[in-house]
């Protein structure tokens, strides 16, 4: 599919918005009450779809019980109006609060679950809410609650379909603005990063548990908001409006429209709420026709009717030049930065790392080499909190790292890249870097949602830093491209820029030269030296001896989980244990040595 020019696309998007707005204004003037009623249903589905899209589309968490939040909003408004005689408007803050609390209640215990289990738990939660509503006296049992007063505005009761229609539009516009600001916020980027690769997100500094919890809370807020509107519209509610089937309908809105896509969700709601009405002529076969229609639509458009767009136009501040600044730049070189003492890690009966001790000094480039399976990556995983050590101690600037979550360790100043590239492939290059900057991104969420000047200043500052990082690795021209579309060498450099986004004092690189040709390796060597010169201490795992011997100040050699040698590169190359365990000893080495030696000096 050809991607149109962004300017053309923006113009056609504006025209579409104008057309929809005009249609929305004209509709109540020409349509019957029945049509307006269907339109209100579509608007309600729009709101619920947008809310569920936060959970499913942005954060990638499958939720089969979303109707529960809808129910909580509706029942809160109904009960507060009928029992405590609140006005409709007065019920909104408490019912939103109830919905948000229930988002925490369902979110918290399920955060560590993976998608399928999560789906089952949310399904259970949805049913629990419905059954409670059916069985309690206060909620009116199966008969529900009626006599809910319509909302009033300046003494005018909004009770006719046309008035409710207008109210629903106001609610929808509110939700649209809210979800759009959210999707562009720091939190929105964090959601997408955990959908793309949760482990990588945590390991580069995103507090994934909190971020997922916030996805539930934000989704619940919008769901509760929709529920309040629903109660006001009908003046009566009962448990049959909040069934499992309703949750599935909301999910269909999101999946059919396009997960993560706002226009897609809006369109999905039109289909889910509108198509069954349009199929009334089928009489008893209506549901059947609807189901067939859904299947055909999904087969024709498996990504959704209007899939989420990835490439964004990006305007990074052009005047942001110069090298990025790191905390370590002014600190004295040579001081002890990281101390590893007797580090041990067992996997089942296998001891991957055994009583390993070493010290990292500020300002050096330290390489860890050794045969495959020697335990090098396990050391990295222990340092970054991805794996918990079985024994021993790790102190970074005197702080014990052993029981800290990976994102906390990143915030302290230890960041990393991965052996196999783990970028967020569907996010743009600059968004990848912005996610990497998360630990030091201090902008407030409310500021971003309300578009406050302070938040704009923060964002501008972060975009400037982001551009400096991209410039530093030579990728500023690719800022708006999807990370997954970048050439291999560029992906490696982007991963380094993302790791530098956390302003680390120590950068851990796991086989950065894997799959690079000699030209790219030579560039990588220069880049590693430049990183060190900015005050970042570098630890490197690498098999490429040209690179290791060329850039390292010191080399540690591991075999079978233990340290078998350490020293300057030249000593290591002559060490008989190292030659025996790792380098090998045949005519190839002698033959390659002169050329490689020439490159190390470059």
């Amino acid at each position: 599919m050809a991607a149109p020019d962004p300017a053309v696309r923006a113009a056609s998007a504006r025209m579409l918005i104008v057309a929809v707005a005009a249609g929305a204004v004209v509709l109540p003037l020409v349509a019957s009450d029945y049509v307006i009623d269907v339109a209100i249903s579509i608007l309600t589905f729009d709101i619920l779809g947008l809310g569920l899209n936060i959970v499913v589309g942005y954060a990638g968490l499958l939720d089969l019980g979303y109707a529960a939040f809808f129910a909580i909003g509706a029942y809160s408004t109904a009960l507060l109006e009928t029992l405590l005689h609140f006005s409709f408007w007065e019920t909104l803050p408490p019912s939103l609060a109830f919905a948000a609390i229930s988002g925490v209640v369902i979110g918290y215990p399920t955060l560590r679950l993976r998608s399928d289990y999560l789906a089952i738990v949310t399904l259970g939660f949805g049913e629990i809410v419905r059954i409670i509503a059916t069985n309690l006296d206060i909620t009116g049992g199966p008969n529900g609650i009626y006599g809910i007063n319509p909302p009033a505005l300046f003494g005018l009761e909004l009770s006719s379909p046309k008035q409710i229609y207008g109210l629903a539009w106001v609610f929808l516009l509110f939700v649209l603005l809210f979800t759009r600001r959210l999707s562009l916020s720091r939190l929105g980027r964090a959601w997408i990063s955990i959908r793309e690769d949760e482990t990588a997100a945590e390991a580069i500094g995103v507090p994934t548990l909190r971020v997922k919890l916030l996805a539930y809370v934000m989704g619940a807020l919008v769901g509760g908001f929709g529920g309040s509107l629903f109660a006001a519209r009908f003046g009566a509610i009962d448990p049959t409006g909040f069934t499992y089937l309703q949750s599935i309908n909301f999910l269909i809105v999101v999946v059919l429209g396009g997960m993560g896509s706002t226009p897609g969700v809006l369109l999905g709601a039109v289909i889910v709420a509108g198509l069954p009405e349009a199929l009334r002529f089928l009489a008893l076969w209506r549901e059947f026709g609807f189901a067939i229609g859904l299947i055909i639509l999904m087969l024709v458009r498996p990504q959704g009717l209007w899939p989420a767009r990835v490439t964004r136009r990006v305007s990074l501040p052009e005047d942001a030049t110069g090298d990025p600044v790191f905390a370590g730049a002014s600190a004295p070189r040579g001081e002890s930065l990281l101390e590893v003492t007797d580090l041990t890690r067992d996997f089942g009966g296998v001891r991957a790392v055994s009583r390993l001790s070493f010290t990292l000094h500020r300002g050096e480039i330290l390489s860890i080499i050794g045969p495959n399976g020697a335990g090098k990556t396990t050391v990295f995983n222990c340092l970054t909190g991805v794996t918990r050590p079985s024994g021993g101690e790790i102190r970074f600037r005197g702080i014990r790292l052993r029981s800290l979550a990976p994102h906390r360790i990143v915030a302290l100043g230890l960041s990393r890249t991965f052996q196999g590239i783990r970028l967020f492939p569907h996010m743009t290059a600059y968004e990848n870097v912005l996610v990497g900057m998360d630990p030091h991104h201090r902008v407030s969420l409310l500021g971003e949602i309300f578009g406050l000047p302070s938040a704009r200043r923060d964002t501008a500052e972060h975009l400037a830093t982001c551009r400096r990082l991209l410039l530093f690795v030579g990728l500023e021209a690719a800022a708006g491209q999807r990370a997954g579309d970048l050439a291999y060498g560029d992906q490696r450099r982007l991963e380094i820029a993302r790791a530098l986004g956390a302003k680390p004092e120590v950068l851990l690189l796991d086989e950065p030269a894997a799959g690079m040709n000699p030209t790219e390796k030579a560039e990588l060597m220069t880049l590693i030296r430049r990183i060190r010169d900015l005050g970042v201490t570098v630890v490197l795992i690498e098999h490429d001896m040209m690179l290791v011997m060329g850039v390292s100040d010191r080399v540690l050699v591991m075999d079978h989980g233990t340290l078998i040698a350490s020293g300057a590169p030249a000593e290591i190359q002559r060490d008989p244990h190292v030659i025996d365990a790792y380098l090998g000893n045949d005519e190839d080495m002698a033959e390659e040595a002169p050329e490689e030696a020439a490159l190390w000096d470059s």
Partner: protein, 237 residues
Amino acid sequence: MGLLTIEDLHVAYGKVEVLRGVSLEVAEGEIVALLGANGAGKTTTLRTISGLVRGRQGRILLSGADITRLRAHQVVARGLGHVPEGRRIFGPLSVEENLRLGGYLLRRDAAEVERRIAASYTLFPRLAERRGQLAGTLSGGEQQMLAIARALMLEPRLLVLDEPSMGLAPKLVRAIFAIIQRIRTQGTSVLLVEQNARQALRIADRAYVLESGRIALSGPAAALAADPRVRAAYLGG
């Protein structure tokens, strides 16, 4: 007539043209290296040969039969083994189960499957030691050996290898190249994609250099290893 013949192959992902008219040939009993920078289209070439990616234009012949339109499992049945980049072994299965899956197309010929598993263990004694171990817990070098052994289970006429030395210790890199030479003596031809151009050119008979989706250079491996352009770009000086 070569074992593998590719004529004017064009491949695109969306709008991005990756291969723009690649032609190459592998003769019976040859080791042919395919070199090039990252993004040149090496992996795409291999994936198109084995039917994982569909070309826009061009033909692929294996032993004279047109395999251009066949699906991956049909190409495998015609005698092509593919060892993918990054090994792609089945981590939660044991070493032996991985090998059995490699012999999936042998169907119910249990005796033959057992014979070939035994042959794999002869070629890779290390795998015999680890036969019951979960493949995901093997070291990188062992995983690469398993990936090769799995592809050899159907005794392919042509083995295509995508960066077999990636991420391996220097000693193991040499072991892998020695194994590739042994595979050839057992009657399987090899098409090899490698970043380690020096080693690849040492064991190959002929080589092609791919640049931006086109064959920029080709010839006997020794001649390419001496070519100043190749030395500058791929051999590091």
